[in-house]
């Protein structure tokens, strides 16, 4: 019996897994996530040019994220389902507020200045959207009918559009993906999926004209990196040089020349994977991919063990969104995908994404550790 409910008398002997579950933490997920975070800090020290201050600052954010994770893990899943409309509504209001009076940062209206801290509502939306879609689908017969699908798409489209207009294509993409994944796990019929893809293909030329110049440039550069080797293509070229020159075993920690000598732009943020691959080589990269795969795997296990449809859809969506996150970042850094501003989860330097990711793991742990014995 591995299900724990608060009992009057604790068992005298508990294994690690059981001890952690008393805190509503999942052993495997915790270990894997902490392992990736540790690797992240390790390589961040090198990528920031051996800046202790930046590593400490990242560690502080990690601590904040872990605290959030612990807190969210201790709330029961039903709370999330019940709170879903409020949560989604709040995130939407903040997004609109951000669009209306968001402070300019990096030319994009992404930040909301709360006076004591700056806050990115779009990160909130990464969680609010799958929660809302999962909660909505839970209340519908599945597989979803066409009206249900359209309603779900509406729930997804509004925040996606708002975020894309900020413009933050990377986050918009992730919000879109998290919602669609919930819909997919809800049993979206393949013909709807095909319809959606066809619609997306039809909308693509229209979207092209809606894109900002720099976004178009990124897409064109992705298709042909040599068309602007010193401008937009520079990132990808230098990133590929960093990764390729790392070879099988890498140049060694702190010995990467591409990042150290500033050839690699954004080395400690979006392109930290290139630093990692340069210094630790293919061996290190395979270890990291294995860790990420294990995290996704563990999350899917949690999802399959979910006790109701809401839990399963939410957990499944969070699991695969995390994977998409990883895939988009690495795919972009190694030149398989166009450059979109998606950080490498748990490793890239930067606050909000770290906290929202760990919050997601907190919800997964909540789902996993609040299971009750069910009569079969």
């Amino acid at each position: 019996m591995n299900v724990t409910v608060i009992t009057a008398a604790p068992k005298p002997i508990l294994n690690w897994s059981e001890r952690l579950e008393r805190w509503h933490l999942d052993l495997w997920l915790s270990v894997l996530v902490l392992a990736v975070c540790a690797l992240g800090l390790f390589i961040l020290y090198s990528a920031t040019g051996e800046s202790v201050a930046m590593v400490v600052s990242q560690a502080e954010r990690l601590a904040l994220g872990l605290g959030t994770m612990l807190m969210l893990a201790n709330a029961p899943p039903d709370f999330y389902r019940a709170a879903a409309p409020w949560f989604y509504g709040l995130a939407l209001v903040l997004l609109i507020a951000c669009a209306l009076l968001g402070a300019h940062a990096k030319g994009a209206q992404r930040w909301l200045d709360l006076g004591f801290m700056r806050f990115q509502p779009s990160e909130l939306m990464k969680l609010a959207t799958p929660i809302a879609v999962a909660a909505y689908l839970q209340s519908r017969p599945l597989p979803p009918s066409l009206p249900t699908v359209l309603a779900s798409l509406g729930l997804i489209a509004v925040p996606t559009a708002l975020i894309a207009l900020q413009p933050d294509l990377g986050t918009a993409l992730l919000v879109l993906v998290s919602g669609l994944l919930a819909l997919y796990f809800g049993g979206l019929k393949p013909r709807y999926l095909a319809l959606a893809l066809a619609a997306a293909a039809a909308a693509a030329p229209l979207a092209w004209y809606k894109l900002h110049d720099y976004q178009r440039e990124r897409l064109l550069t992705f298709l042909d990196p040599s068309r602007d080797p010193l401008g937009a293509g520079y990132h990808i070229t230098q990133s590929k040089i960093a990764i390729g020159s790392g070879g099988l075993f890498g140049k060694g920690w702190l010995a990467g020349t591409q990042a150290k000598l500033d050839f690699l732009p954004e080395a400690h943020t979006d392109f930290i994977f290139a630093v990692y691959a340069e210094e630790l080589g293919l061996i290190g990269v395979l270890l990291l991919l294995a860790l990420y795969a294990a995290i996704v795997g563990r999350c899917l296990v949690i999802a399959m063990r979910g006790q109701d449809t809401f839990q399963r859809l939410l957990a499944g969506s969070l699991a695969l969104t995390f994977f998409v996150y990883v895939f988009i970042n690495i795919g972009m850094v190694i030149g398989l995908l166009p450059v979109v501003g998606v950080p490498l989860p748990l490793m890239s330097y930067g606050g909000t994404s770290m906290v929202s990711l760990l919050a997601g793991f907190g919800i997964l742990m909540s789902i996993h550790t609040h299971r009750k014995l069910l009569a079969s």
Binding site: Y184, G187, K240, Q258, D262, F263, G316, I334
Partner: protein
Amino acid sequence: MSSYDAIKDLWEEKRSFTRRGYFGALMSVLLILTLTARLIQLQVVQHDYYRTRADDNRMRLVPVPPVRGLIYDRNGALLAQNLPSFVLQIVPEQVDDLDATLARLRRIVNLSDQDVARFRERLRKTPRYRPVTLRTNLSPEEVARYEVDRYDFPGVTVDASLVRDYPLGAEASHVVGYVGGITDADLARIDADQYQGLDQIGKVGVEKSHEDQLRGLPGTKIIEANAAGRPLRELNYHAGSPGQNLYLTIDARLQHVAEQALGELDGAVVALDPRNGEVLALVSKPGFDPDLFANGVDNATYHALLDDPHRPLYNRALLGIYPPGSTIKPFMAFAGLEEGTLDPDKPVYCPGYLNLPGSSRRYRCWKRSGHGELTLERAIAQSCDVYFYNVALALGIDRIDQALGAFGFGHVTGLDIGGERSGLLPTREWKRRSLHQAWFPGETLNVGIGQGYLTVTPMQLALAVSRIAMRGDGYLPHLVHAIGDPVGGRITEVAPQRLPPITVKDATIWDRVIAGMEQVTQSPRGTAYGIGADAPYAIAGKTGSAQVVGVAQNVGYQGAQRNIELKLRDNALFIAFAPADAPRIAVAVVAEHGAEGALAAAPVARMVMDQYLLGKVLYHAPPASATVLPAPDNDDGDEGGPLPDESPPAQNPNDAPEEPAVPPQ
């Protein structure tokens, strides 16, 4: 919650979810395998390519400029050296607000308006990513102040470098020359590989002619640099080779004496060792400050030098072409004797003029009262024009050309620093080609006394008189007698190069010519008796003066010279060698507007010979002043007295001297 709850099939939903979960996991695995395949492609298959790209990124091949060779005089005195200097430079593209930066720099570094003006000129000509020099020779205090504030000055650097320095300054400027910035014109003719890391090139003089030896070969080093190009560490060093040191034949003290002896007059002095062609002194006055150019001259100063009426940038010794005047007479005497058209012992009567048959025109002697009867030696000593009209007439222009050509007139001497002009030895053929006219006998007379179309350079005169001194032997004049390798100290002598000798049918011809030239300084009636009388060694010489402007016929001429405006006065010339019986030095002097050879030019030659032969100057002449000339002894003057049928051009228009086309820097 809603009416649809009733028909939810929870088991089917769970089965569907599990199916889709496995499908998602499968897709994830496939995508991870895609990433892995791509990473293997980058990190294993293409690893060598990307490693090379990464090395290309970080490694910079940086040239190491060679140290330029030093230039010494014959006694080891430095004529050109390299001094360490702190140079303040600005990389324009790294500076946001240039004016503000300059204003702030003024607070810590002494910047004159001229520095800034020069900087702005260079700024225009330099690509924005290359450093532009703002000031050289920063004091240690200025460097220290800069170092304290350096982080306030992005794009501003202070580098230690070597700056070319010329200890003798203007005195040897025309010999040593100078280095200046490499211009586009230079780039078109040089091998840019050999100038890696260098920004200066020899422009004039030895610095230019021996550029290849002086420059050396640049080395290389490989440094690691970051994306901004900032060098971080040195990975590899390959030394080049330093430039060779040059040992010149010039004697710096002799050069100084010659320069001083000219006083305020413009002119040129060339002194040769007739026994080997070594150039002992080569002065063109006025000179210029070569350090100006080495430090990068500004346009205003450069144009002031170009526009200076005394033309300080113009090397008179090699480029100045002058009518030789009476200094041509010993060569005419030689020609007459060698061709047998002149009997040296047959007296010629000088009534003060010569009439050509069939012409009413009088060709006058400088001495209007006439010299009376003269034989060769006396005719040379007293510089009788009528005697040499007859010599020329008997020879004819063709034989004159042949003889004068053998002494080197009409050709460059082949001095090893180049930059010479050939002067003009007029021939029938030349006149037909250039002026489309036949040769007139009257013109032969003018050539006979060194006037008319005939022009020579001081260098040619010095070589020619050294060949009389050596009785026909001669050596190629040269300024570099040895080349030293600073690595190992090996010194390679440059062997003197013998010229084809001037052969004579009868060796006594030389005796007669040299005897006449000795009479010039030793006979009381000789035109340069003033410098020869008290000399402790025998001087063989010849005075000359050449008209700068024509003077109309019958105008009182003799004596008028002293009172007319300086720039209208005749040029004074003197050629000599000494000691007459065992010559060790041959000298040619041209003193522009010095009026009379014996007054202005001969004392200069005497002082140079004193310094060289005795180690000190015994002779103290009445100063060859440009303003006050002493009253002449009647026989002492040698005034170019002919009034030819047409005024001889002082300079042939086709051969007009011009400034060397050297741009500033």
